[in-house]
Structure formats: structure tokens, C-alpha cells
Homo-oligomer: 362 residues x 2
């Protein structure tokens, strides 16, 4: 337990500053002026790159590395790209993932009371699982390193290591064991998603999964091929409990899963390593609605609650755990009362949603 | 135009023989005993591998190569694997794709009258697009060639070539131009799906797409990131017309898309190159229901119709075009009358569905 926790807040691009401001406002309201968090803002992103040629200043990197946790709005603007065509604004997230080894990307998927799923015949509570995405290997590790030959050919490399697969699979089983309820059929399970039928890197992922699974005999271990899983998350989302997969498949499935619970606006994300954590909503910077005051801040607020939980466990600090609980309750209450933005068929703006949550912090 | 077309029929594994038999029965009924097709069966698959150590005999390969078209049931059985952990039964499909250069995998996605989508608020006709999947490059090209080092590391390589991207993108624009209606908003469009924001191989795919798109100014060209697209196929399927993407993303999106129209049982697939075509349903071998007489043959019947269309165009043979039309009409009529299997909430078996289609061939 510490007296004070330093939180590096990086608003970023597009709607990033709006949703980050919402989180800062709610965290201030949660703990009051003498609270345990010190929130400091730092610049990074595509807009900064356009102005200065630098997307992720060394000072921001150092602040993130040395903080107790990192809270991010959103980053990236299409068209602001590196010479190889990839987006400059994503340097922030991607460099932090790799340089701070934030290997576990935890993405809870839950259909809240008050929200309609685009899936027919799914009731609130009928979707409640967690995607555990490997966040430090796979194709993403090739970013910036792939080759392009005379405009004729481009190559990237997909790498899976035993260490990398073991630790993410273990994280998934620990999550299934410790903190999650079971799905409707009462069976706690971890589903490994791969393409082991075609590629040996995925067969390797599966083989390591099977080894680790043997250490958890009380939890059902099952396999799903990525293509079939993309189907099953639509046709039987209630079956899942904890899903573990490699980096790119996790990226794809988590957006798909978010669609089934009302969209990315309600999907939090926690990227954690051994010593640091990065918390940001699953959504992007949505430049088309930036600056209009209509961005949905719930994903960022739920990510801030995940940050408090992570800090609470790491530092054995009950104040933060209680704060996480209050913040999450307030978000759920506001959603259940229909305080929703346009993305969910409601009429509330970012500021109204934020104040509604603050008013329900109790 | 030819007098006779040789069709290599490969039943394969699991439900493969049942759905292939359904297609043979309907093609026989369509043209009668003196018809233009000669259908010959050839062995391949996981079961054969188990018995003989050989998954794809040279004689079957030669017959496929030399036939006018190839009709496949389904292949692969989990657990029957090569030493590297990948499935032996998939040799058939994957070797044909690469060795016969079947670069274009065309997967129409359509919600038929008589079928309920798992998506709320989507009416029949509300989903009607085609996924054009690149079928000869990407990660799949690394199959069997990836490395595994002392159980510590596994690597596969993703390759995109200019030639490969150009030809698949051109195929997509030609399809949008020639034969497809427009979606509800009246705009004919081709959507390029990639992950250009992160990886240069996908940025390359997008750059080549943009070049080819410039040759088709009358068709709207748009970009979608794979993660966002996985969401959009659930939240706004009516927006899409023709979608073009690389191999693995096409694999994932086509199963996801099939889920939105009632499942893989209704999803045909055509894999075509310059000189040969392979036609099979998008679904796998479903060993859990094999031999029970309950497999849904519609996907294979629609794939057989696609085969007739392809042969008709290639050989300027109106008989085959008319046959394709009649077969498709009969399938649609049977579906609309509720002659559905268990996968779609119906009670009909494979044989009943097959006879129902034959009875409606007119
Ligand atoms: C912004 C982008 C780099 C990122 C990713 O691809 O991982 C995002 O889509 C995510 O899911 O966190
Ligand atoms: C069976 C398998 C090799 C195949 C693929 O991955 O391409 C299948 O899923 C498909 O979509 O055709």
C-alpha cells in the first residue's frame, strides 16, 4: 500500500481527450481532493506527430514507465502514417505493449441490463465472458520489422514462444479459477482459439495450451478454431467463460464480441505485465465524432475501474478496491437507467453521462 | 462448349460423403441420364490417411487437375494430424489451392426467405454480399514451411505479392461491376479489409487495392480494418456489397458472415483459378453428426450451382447456365417452404431435403 499513486494520463487523439477527461472527472469525484491518486497528463499521438514529427515523446514514455499505472484515451488518426504506411498514432499503445512487456490484454465482454444486444434472443446476463488476448507476440511483434521488396512483395512474421504462450494461458486459467462465475451451463471453462489445423505456429500455441491446461484439472479446457469461433460468438455467446488466444485473433474476436453487447463503447480493456498496466477502452479514436461532445465514455470509465482493481490487488490497498467497486456500480446504475449515448440509441452526451455516473458514486 | 464435362467428385470425410451424394443426386436429376456431366468419385482425406498413410493419392490429384471442375464434400478429422500438429485431411483442399493456383475464393452471403438470422432486425434480403477471399498467399502460404525450434518457438510467415493482391482485387471489382445488385443504399462498393494501421504487409495490400480501385471510378472503394469489420458484419451487414481481403481474414470473416445468415449449412464456396475450379460448401466435415443422415446439403447444392455457372461462362454453354439457375431456384423454393434441417430449427434429414430439391427442379 502506498499513500499516493501516480497515474500517467494520456488523452491522445480524436475522442481520446473527451473520454479521458470523463475518467479523470469521475476519479476525482470518487476520491475527493485528498484522494490517493495523482493524475498527470502527458502528450502523445497522431496529432502530435503531425505537429512535431514525434508521436511518442521520450518524456511521456518515461512518465508512463515510472507511473503506477497508465490511463489512455484513444490514439491514431487514419492518414497520419509512417513511411511504411502504418499509423503513427499507434506508436504509443504498441511501444508500451512491447517495451513494458504488457503481455496480457484482458477484455471482459458483458451484456449489461439496460442495453439491447443486436443478437436476437440474448438477455442481459446472457453474455458474460472474458477474452484474454496475448499482447506481446504473434504478427504484432513484426511491426516495423517486416520487409517490402521493390513494391513487389511484403512480408511479416508470426512468432509464438513457449514463454509467451505459457504465461498467457496460465493467466487465463487463473482468471477462470479465481474470480469468474461460470456460464449458464455451470461449467467453468477456458477456450483456446487457434488455427492449429493449418499452421504450425498455432499448433504450437495449442500444444502449449494443452500442457498448461493439465495443471488445472478442475477447469474444462476446450479448443476452437478461429473461423468457427467467429461464428460461435454470434450463435452461442452464452457458452463462453474465459477465452484465450494469440494477439491478432484476440484483436478480431474482442471487437466482434463487443458488437454483441452493444458495441465498443461499453468494452473496457486492461493490458498488464509484471510491473505495469495500461488501461483504455477497446474502441479507437473515432475522429468522425471527435469534439462533438457525444463520445461514449463508459468503456474508459470501466477501464479506469479495472485500473483501480489492478492497483488494489498489486498494492493490497482496500481503498482502491472499494473505489473500483463504487465506480463500476455507478456505471452499471447509469446504464440500467437508460443514460446512454447515440451509439446505443440514447440521447445523452459525454458530459451528461459523466455527471450521471458521478452523481451515482454514492 | 463441350459435349461432356468431367467432374471430379471427392466425398472426403465426416459428412462429406453425405453432402456430396446429395449434390450428385441433384445434378443427375437436373440433366437426366444423357446430360452433359460425367461425375466420377475419387478418394482423399483424413480417413484415407488413417488407413493408408496417404491423404491425397497421386491418382486423385491427377483426376482433379485434369477434370473440368472439382466438387468436394468436406475433409479433415480432428486428431488425424501430421507430425507438426496440422490436420492431414486438409491436404486435399490446401494442395489444390496452391498447386492449381485457385487464387479466388468467392463466398456469397445471403439471408434467404424462410431463414431466421440470429441478428435481430434483419429481414430476408437484408443481407446480401460476397466475400472475395485471396486464396493463394498470406499466412497459408507458410503451411508446412514454418519453423519450430526445440519446442521453444514457432514461426510462420505472411506473404503478400503485388501479383496476388492485384488479381484478387480486380476480381472483386469485376464482380461488383458485372453481376451484383447494390445494397440498400444503392451504392455499389468494394470494401478492402486489412490491418494496414499496424503491419506493413497489410499496408501493402491496401496500397495495391487503392491502385486497382482507381481503374473503377464508378464503384465506391472503401477500407475497413479487420477488427472493425468483425463488428460491422454484425451491426450493419446491409451496408456491404463486395468485400475483398487476404486469406486468413477471409477465412474468419466468411464463417462470421455465415453465422449471420443461419450458419455454414447455407454458405457455398467457389475456389477458382485461371484454368480450374473447386466447389465445396464453406462448412467442415462435422464428424459429430456424420453418418446420421442429418447433414444439411444446401451449402453443397449451392456450390454445385456455382460450379455450373462457372463452367457455363468458361465454356459459353447455355445448358449449364440454365441448369445452375434451375438448381438455385429449387434450393431457394425448398428453403422458403421451410424444408430445413436441425441446424436451422427444422426437422428434415439430408435425404428428404435432397428429394425436395429434386422435386422442385421443374
Ligand atoms: C489500435 C490498435 C493498434 C489496436 C490493436 O490492433 O491491437 C486496437 O485495435 C486494439 O484492439 O487494442
Ligand atoms: C478447412 C480449412 C483448411 C479451410 C481454411 O482454413 O481455409 C476452411 O476453414 C475454409 O474456410 O475453407
Amino acid at each position: 500500500m502506498k499513500d499516493i499513486y501516480q497515474i500517467a494520463v494520456v488523452p491522445g487523439d480524436g475522442i481520446g481527450p473527451e473520454v479521458a477527461a470523463a475518467a479523470v472527472r469521475c476519479l476525482d469525484a470518487l476520491f475527493g481532493p485528498a484522494g490517493p491518486l495523482v493524475l498527470r497528463e502527458h502528450p502523445a499521438g497522431a496529432e502530435l506527430y503531425r505537429r512535431s514529427g514525434e508521436s511518442f515523446p521520450a518524456a511521456t514514455y518515461a512518465a508512463c514507465r515510472d507511473a503506477d499505472a497508465i490511463l489512455h484515451g484513444a490514439a491514431g488518426l487514419p492518414g497520419i502514417v509512417h513511411p511504411d504506411g502504418t499509423e503513427a498514432g499507434l506508436d504509443f499503445t504498441l511501444r508500451l505493449r512491447f517495451e513494458l512487456d504488457l503481455f496480457a490484454n484482458i477484455r471482459p465482454i458483458r451484456l449489461y441490463p439496460g442495453v439491447r444486444s443486436p443478437l436476437a434472443e440474448v438477455a442481459p446476463g446472457g453474455i458474460d465472458y472474458v477474452i484474454v488476448r496475448e499482447n506481446s507476440e504473434g504478427l504484432y511483434a513484426a511491426r516495423g520489422a517486416g520487409a517490402q521488396l521493390r513494391g513487389e512483395l511484403a512480408v511479416d512474421t508470426l512468432v509464438q514462444t513457449r514463454k509467451g504462450v505459457e504465461r498467457i494461458v496460465r493467466q487465463a486459467f487463473e482468471l477462470a479459477r479465481s474470480s469468474r462465475g461460470a456460464p449458464a451451463d455451470g461449467v467453468r471453462r477456458v477456450t483456446c482459439v487457434d488455427k492449429a489445423n493449418v499452421l504450425r505456429s498455432y499448433a504450437f500455441f495449442r500444444a502449449v495450451f494443452d500442457e498448461v491446461a493439465a495443471e488445472y484439472p478442475e477447469i474444462e479446457a476446450e479448443h476452437g478454431l478461429i473461423d468457427a469461433m467467429a461464428m460461435y460468438l454470434v450463435t452461442r455467446p452464452g457458452h463462453y467463460n474465459v477465452i484465450v488466444t494469440e494477439n491478432m485473433f484476440g484483436d478480431i474476436l474482442s471487437d466482434l464480441a463487443a458488437a454483441t453487447i452493444g458495441g465498443l463503447g461499453l468494452a473496457p480493456s486492461a493490458e498488464i505485465g509484471v510491473t505495469q498496466g495500461l488501461f483504455q477502452a477497446s474502441h479507437g479514436s473515432a475522429p468522425d465524432i471527435a469534439g462533438k461532445g457525444i463520445a461514449n465514455p463508459y468503456g474508459t470509465l470501466l477501464s479506469a475501474a479495472a485500473m483501480l482493481d489492478w492497483l488494489a490487488t498489486r498494492h493490497a490497498d482496500a481503498r482502491l478496491g472499494a473505489g473500483a467497486h463504487r465506480l463500476r456500480q455507478a456505471v452499471e446504475a447509469a446504464i440500467a437507467e437508460g443514460i446512454l449515448g447515440r451509439d446505443l440509441g440514447g440521447r445523452y452526451g459525454s458530459a451528461e453521462i459523466t455527471e450521471a455516473v458521478c452523481a451515482r458514486l454514492g
